[in-house]
């Protein structure tokens, strides 16, 4: 329980300086979870009560479109936060599912507890400000890529920047994240080999 929270503390310290004696108090606000591959942390239609930090493994957030296919809109690997923030902020039902891509270890904090944590530790307020700022920055860049690149370029770019991730994750999930079909991904990979 304590050793597995080390990556979280390191992540906090990348953004704010915080006395070591505060760390246990901070950690006490979280729940440690082990989730098995394919297990869901958030179900479509349920109130999104929880914000998750991935200590080890990989989660994804997806929804199911009218045609019944899953559309992944976000992955979270080590040191990333994930939640449906619109539903989380308003404590409303979510249209998304959050699912473990691999068996994972996560820290979970529900909305009210997070509010308490932030009120109690101003440094955590700053930490989350930095985390969300970075997340939004990444999101801006992503939207740019979606507009700038063809689907083929999207994949080549993704493969170039996250080669280990492409190994780790089944191809149909990569396709789902980049917004195209597994069949087309197959075609792209065939081209790239020759």
């Amino acid at each position: 329980m304590y050793t597995m929270s080390v990556p979280f503390f390191q992540h906090i310290k990348k953004f704010v300086s915080i006395p070591d004696e505060d760390l246990p108090g901070i950690l006490s606000h979280f729940q440690v979870l082990k989730v098995k591959k394919k297990q869901n942390l958030l179900e479509n239609g349920m109130v999104c009560r929880t914000n998750y930090f991935v200590v080890k493994g990989c989660l994804r957030m997806f929804f199911i479109n009218d045609k019944g296919t899953e559309q992944t809109i976000q992955f979270a690997i080590e040191n990333w936060w994930i939640s449906d923030y619109l539903a989380f902020l308003n404590q409303k039902e979510s249209n998304f599912c959050i699912q473990a891509v691999e068996t994972s270890e996560v820290l979970a904090i529900d909305f009210q507890t997070q509010e308490k944590l932030l009120a109690q530790y101003p440094a955590m307020e700053k930490y989350f400000r930095c985390v969300y700022q970075k997340a939004f920055a990444a999101s801006q860049l992503r939207v740019k890529y979606m507009y700038d690149f063809s689907k083929e370029d999207l994949y080549l770019h993704f493969e170039k920047w996250f080669p280990e991730f492409v190994q780790r994750i089944p191809q149909y999930l990569v396709a789902s994240y980049l917004g195209f079909t597994p069949e087309y991904l197959s075609e792209i990979r065939k081209k790239r080999i020759s």
Copy 2:
């Protein structure tokens, strides 16, 4: 100068409670700008030094793709913040331009000044945490729409939720924001009338 900052104070008070006597001190960190239609606040290739809050009017952020056409990735109307946050956070060159869609009044704060402001007023740390959290939430939803909807549905949805905005803004900018061509937008509108 003072009266035009009222909307900003109101916006702050929607997220945090803050004593009125702090407001002048906070405001002193900002520069008040009037920008004319089509005037640029950030130029492609320049270091992104500034974060902008729109008091009145409308800004947009765009880039120019390989084919030389402008791709709008964000609008900011009254009470929205806008910047290229990746470039802003790292104080690096931006690939974007920020331009006034309408003649506008904005509050501007550069990176170092914002850091000072946040250090001095913990309430502002919370304020920006909320602002970025909301921005990221909106961005998640936007990515969902981009995956979920056809271009036609994107427009109909946009028109339904922001009818006044569609009136206010030239159509080719709406098309550029939604990721398709003015010609295709024309086709969509023709269909909708019949």
